[in-house]
Symmetry: C2
Amino acid sequence: MARKTGSHSQITGPLVRQAALRLFAQGGYAAVSMRQIASEVGLQAGALYLYTPDKQTLLFTLMHEHLEELLTAWEAVEKPVAPIEQLQAFTRFHIRFHLERLDAVFIANMELRNLSDENFAVIEKLRKAYEDGLQSILEAGHATGAFRVPDLKLATLAIIAMLTGVNTWYREGGRLSRDRVERIYWNMVRRSVGA
Amino acid sequence: MARKTGSHSQITGPLVRQAALRLFAQGGYAAVSMRQIASEVGLQAGALYLYTPDKQTLLFTLMHEHLEELLTAWEAVEKPVAPIEQLQAFTRFHIRFHLERLDAVFIANMELRNLSDENFAVIEKLRKAYEDGLQSILEAGHATGAFRVPDLKLATLAIIAMLTGVNTWYREGGRLSRDRVERIYWNMVRRSVGA
DNA sequence: CCTTGAACTGAACGCCTGTTCAGATAAGGA
DNA sequence: TCCTTATCTGAACAGGCGTTCAGTTCAAGG
């Protein structure tokens, strides 16, 4: 499937995923039909099955690609030594990365219940791996005495929830620049861990 | 409709809403059929239309009742004088109220896009009113110098996102008691506003 | 006892769903 | 030029959807 010498454009697959991403984010997985997705790419519904075995796998692929990209991007960030600077790097990275992918983040947070049990397990594992990235920073800061947090796990979840919340209201060209938002949130995050 | 002398139980309406609440939270509005809801209450699908004009109004009613209850409950809370104590009262109230209504909160956060424009406007207004409750506390604390927040609106949204995030992981009988969770989060909220 | 009327059933309406598949199309290699 | 092969269409399938409505049931009021 999808050989190097495909007769047509060989970029239809990504176009399908892109359309599905936008439509799922807009209307929700269950409310979007295969025919709508196909029409967005200029195809008939049947043709989609050249690019995905079924609708649910299409959803899973979108989430999976998003989370893999998230983990890869975070790994690629240069990490400072001091925990407080690591936490700042995380804060800015998280806001920036998530704001650049409103649709994918929305889907990854809202459509978990539409995954099969096996697919859900895979996604949850990736999500957990990302959380662990933040938690290990908090642990390091706890060890050096830079942070004072009563519960590492709760602090991890609270910070991620707070930061991801930006996605629900921030829009390009609004009252505050993205950089300003990052600074303000960093200020709150820093103080929430007592640093 | 629903006169005082109804011949049957006259509690079917609430039972329908209760079933719809649970099913919508579990599977999502679009994925749940009227026949499923009816079956949960022991009725045929047609009978549901004695209690709601259509499926979408049923969703709207659930959200509307939830938010009205939220506002009423917060108004009923006795407010301390000092802003910092008001903020603590808000934190504990928010966590407690939301943890007692997992399904309704989930729906109110996830199914906004399935509302008609007019219904959405009503719900958004109520949500905004609740946010204003927190924001006025932050303003009061800013005025007295008790809090140091660079941006009142952002702090409001960040705190609410952080607190509502508890719903995604807290389960009765878990590692931490609800009271302990409330204390830990209050600690983080307090520090995030520099108090 | 008879009438009223709310509560409910069961069938039907037109439409949409995810998925399959035989057949058409057209480009590349030999 | 012919053959192979990836790509895509258009129709079909079985089933589910929200909603309507004529007709049945049955408790309560007069």
